[in-house]
Amino acid sequence: MAIVKTERHAEMPPPVTQTGVIGWLRQNMFSNWLSSVLTIVAIYIVWQAASSFVSYTVINANFAGVTKDDCTGTGACWVFIKARFGQNMYGFYPVDERWRVNIGYVMGAVGLFLVLSDTVKSKKWPAVFLFGIYPVICYFLFFGGFGLEQVETSEWGGLFLTLVLASVSIFVALPLGIVLALGRRSDMPVVRMICVGFIELVRGVPLISVLFMASVMLPLFLPEGTNFDKLVRALVGMSLFSAAYMAEVVRGGLQAIPKGQLEAANSLGLGYWQSMGLIVLPQALKISIPAIVNTFIGLFKDTTLVSIVGLLDLLSVVKAGTTDKNWLGLATEGYVFVAATFWVFCFGMSRYSIWLENKLHTGHKR
C-alpha cells in the first residue's frame, strides 16, 4: 500500500505576507523592529510636515484680493505675489514693451527644443539659429533698435534679468572654457602657466569677490571716460567665473579621450586645430555634456549673487517687495516663491542631465 503521492502537487501561490502590498510593506518598511520604529517615526514627521505645509500654502492661504488687508487667513498671503507678479517677472521693464521679452522667450524655447529634442535629427540649422542668430535678435529685441523703443538695462529685472544673466554667461563661458582647457593641456609651458594661473585663481575665490572686482575695479582698469553698464560688469564677472569652472569640466572630458585619437588624427596629416576641432573636441564635449549641464545649474543658482552688487534680479526684486511698507511681514511668502521658481528650473535641468547621462551610457550598461 503506497501512501506516497505519485503526481506532483499543484503550485501554490507564495504566502500572503510575501507578496502584494503586505509583502512589500514587510520588506521595505517593517523588515525588523528598528526599521519599524523608524518607519513609524518617519510617517509621523512626514504627516506633520506635509499637513502644515499644505495648510500653509493651500488650505489656509489667501489667493483673492489686491492688498495686504485681503489676507485674513492664517496661511500664506499669495496676494502679495499676485499683486507684484509683473515686477517679479520683468522688473521695471515698461509694461507696454513686455511683449518683446515674451517673444524672446518663445523663440528661445523653440530653438532650445529643436536643439535638445530627440525627434529632430538635423541639428545644424537649429544650432546656427540658437547660437548665431538668436543672440543678435535678442539684443535688438530687448535693448531696442530698428524702430523699437530703447529700454535701458537699468530697467531690466526680475526673472527676465536672471535668465539673461544665466544665458549670456553660459554663452560666453563655454567657448572661453574650451580655450582655457585646451591651453591647460597645451605643450607650451607659457600658455599652460597662464591658463592654470587663471583657472586656479578664479576657482580659489568666491564669486562675490569676483563680482565686487568686476563692479569696482573694471572701471579703474579701463581708459578714463569708458563708462560701463552695471549689467555688463556683472556679466563680465559671471562669465569669467564660470569659464574657469567650465574649463575644468572640459578638461575632464579631454582627459577621457585616449591619446590614440590625437595620434591617429596627426598621422592623417591634420594640424592641431583640425585634430582638436574635428576629432578630439566633439568626443570630449559629448561625454562632458552632463557635467556642463550641472555647471550650468550652479551658474543659474549663482546669478542670485548679482543682487549684492545692486542688480534687480528675481531675488532682489522680491526682497525689495518684502520691505515695501504696504506688504510688510511677508518675507516667508516671497522667499518661498523665489525658491519654488528656482527649484522648478534647476530640478528640470538636473533631470535632463540624468536622462542625458543614461542615454549616453547605453553602451556600458550591464
Binding site: 521595505n28 526599521s35 607650451m188 600658455v191 568666491p206 562675490i208 569677490s209 565686487f212 572701471p219 578714463e224
Partner: protein
C-alpha cells in the same frame, strides 16, 4: 617633424616656418608680449584713474582708524574710534574662519547621516532623505540664507517673550543665549589635561595597533580614548576644586546680560551653509558607498564579520577613497560660500573688509587683493590637508 609628401626639395625658410618647435617658441613669445602689454595697459590705466580720483595707494590704510561699528566681534577688542582697518581685517578673518569651521563639521555630520539614510532599505526613510537632497540642492544658497534669516530667525519672539528652557537657554529674535563657562585660577590645568588626554589617546591607539599586529589581540581603543579625553580633565578639575563656574544669561533691562550668545546672523549662516552643503555631501557619500562592489560585503560576510564591522572595516575605508576628493571641493565651496554672509549682515571678511573698508578708503585694488589672497590661501590649506589625508588612506599598490 614635417614629412615631405610632395617630393619637392624644401627651402630653408620653409622648414623653419613649418617646424613645430620654432612655431611653439614664436607663439609663446607672442603670448608673453601680449600678456605683458595687457598688464601694462591695465596697470597704466589704473594709475591714471587712481590719480584722477585722488585715491591713495599702498597699504597705509591698514593702520588708519576704521571708525565704524562691527556687529559680531570674537576674541579681539574692537573700538570704533581707536581700532584700525587692520583690526577690521583680523576680525573679518576670525569670523569667516569661525563660521567656516563650524559649518564644515556640521555639514559633514548632516551629509554622512543623510547619505547613509539615502541608502536605507526602509523605503520611507530613503525617500525622506531623497526629498531633502533634491529640494535643498536645487535652491540657490542665497535664497536659503535669506529665508533662514528673514523668514525664520527674525520672526522669533522678542527678547521679553523669549522661549525659555529652564532659565538656562533662551531663544529670541536677537539670538540664542546660553550659560558660559567662566574660568577661575587653575583653569589652565584643566585645559592642559584635556590636551594631554588627546595626546594620550593617540599614543594608546599607536600602541594598540602595534600590539594587534604582533599578537592579534584587539584593544578597545575608542572607549579608552573617550575615557581619557573626558576623564582626565574631570579628575584634574575635581582635584583643584572645580576652578570654574557657569555664568547664566539673565534679562536685565531690554536685553540679556552675561552668558554666551549666538547671534541670528551667525546662526542663519551656519544653518544655511551646513544644510546646503550637507545635501551635496550626502550625494557624495551615497555615491562613494555605492562604488564599493557588493562582492566586498559578501566576502566580509563569508569571513564571519557582522554587518556593522563590515561597514567599519571593509566598506567605509574603500568608500572613503572615492568620497574624499569631491568632499574636499565641497569644503572649499563652503568656505567660499561663507562670503554670502554679506547679504545677511554677518561680519565676515567680505562684508566688513571688502565691503565697508573698501567703501571708506576707496582702495579697491589693495582691499580686493588682500581678500582674494586670504581665500586663496585658505583654499590651498584645506586642499593640502585633504590631499595629505587622501594620500594616507589611498590604495597602496605595488
Amino acid at each position: 617633424m614635417t614629412v615631405d609628401v610632395s617630393g619637392q626639395p624644401r627651402g630653408a625658410g620653409d622648414s623653419m616656418l613649418r617646424d613645430p618647435k620654432v612655431r611653439a617658441v614664436f607663439f609663446q613669445i607672442l603670448v608673453i608680449v601680449l600678456f605683458l602689454a595687457f598688464v601694462f595697459y591695465v596697470g597704466n590705466n589704473a594709475v591714471v584713474n587712481l590719480e584722477k580720483r585722488g585715491i591713495a595707494s599702498g597699504f597705509g590704510f591698514l593702520s588708519q582708524p576704521a571708525g565704524f561699528g562691527i556687529g559680531i566681534v570674537l576674541l579681539v577688542d574692537y573700538n570704533a574710534q581707536v581700532s584700525t582697518h587692520g583690526d577690521v581685517l583680523l576680525i573679518g578673518v576670525i569670523n569667516t574662519l569661525a563660521v567656516a569651521t563650524s559649518g564644515i563639521v556640521l555639514a559633514t555630520l548632516i551629509g554622512f547621516v543623510f547619505g547613509v539614510l539615502r541608502l536605507s532599505n526602509n523605503w520611507i526613510v530613503n525617500k525622506i532623505a531623497a526629498v531633502y537632497i533634491e529640494i535643498v540642492r536645487n535652491i540657490p544658497l542665497l535664497v536659503q540664507l535669506l529665508f533662514w534669516y528673514f523668514a525664520v530667525l527674525s520672526v522669533l519672539p522678542r527678547v521679553k517673550q523669549s522661549i525659555n528652557f529652564g532659565d538656562t537657554l533662551f531663544i529670541n529674535n536677537r539670538g540664542v543665549n546660553f550659560p558660559s563657562i567662566v574660568p577661575e585660577t587653575g583653569f589652565m590645568f584643566v585645559v592642559l589635561a584635556f590636551f594631554a588626554g588627546i595626546v594620550g589617546s593617540v599614543l594608546v591607539a599607536k600602541w594598540a595597533r602595534k600590539r594587534q599586529e604582533l599578537t592579534g589581540q584587539q584593544f578597545p581603543v575608542l572607549w579608552t580614548s573617550i575615557g581619557i579625553i573626558i576623564g582626565l580633565p574631570v579628575i584634574v578639575s575635581f582635584a583643584l576644586g572645580v576652578p570654574m563656574h557657569l555664568d547664566y544669561a539673565a534679562l536685565r533691562g531690554f536685553n540679556f546680560q552675561g552668558g554666551w550668545i549666538l547671534e541670528p546672523e551667525f546662526l542663519a549662516l551656519l544653518i544655511g551653509l551646513s544644510i546646503y552643503t550637507g545635501a551635496f555631501i550626502a550625494e557624495i557619500v551615497r555615491a562613494g558607498i555605492n562604488a564599493v562592489s557588493h562582492g566586498q560585503t559578501e566576502a566580509a560576510g563569508s569571513l564571519g564579520l557582522r554587518s556593522n564591522t563590515t561597514m567599519r572595516l571593509v566598506v567605509l575605508p574603500q568608500a572613503l577613497r572615492v568620497i574624499i576628493p569631491p568632499l574636499t571641493s565641497q569644503y572649499l565651496n563652503l568656505l567660499k560660500n561663507s562670503s554670502l554672509a554679506t547679504a545677511i549682515g554677518y561680519a565676515d571678511i567680505t562684508a566688513i573688509f571688502a565691503g565697508t573698508t573698501l567703501n571708506q578708503t576707496g582702495q579697491a585694488i589693495e582691499v580686493i587683493a588682500i581678500t582674494m589672497a586670504f581665500y586663496l590661501s585658505m583654499s590651498l590649506t584645506i586642499s593640502m590637508f585633504m590631499n595629505w589625508y587622501n594620500n594616507r588612506i589611498a590604495l597602496v599598490e605595488r
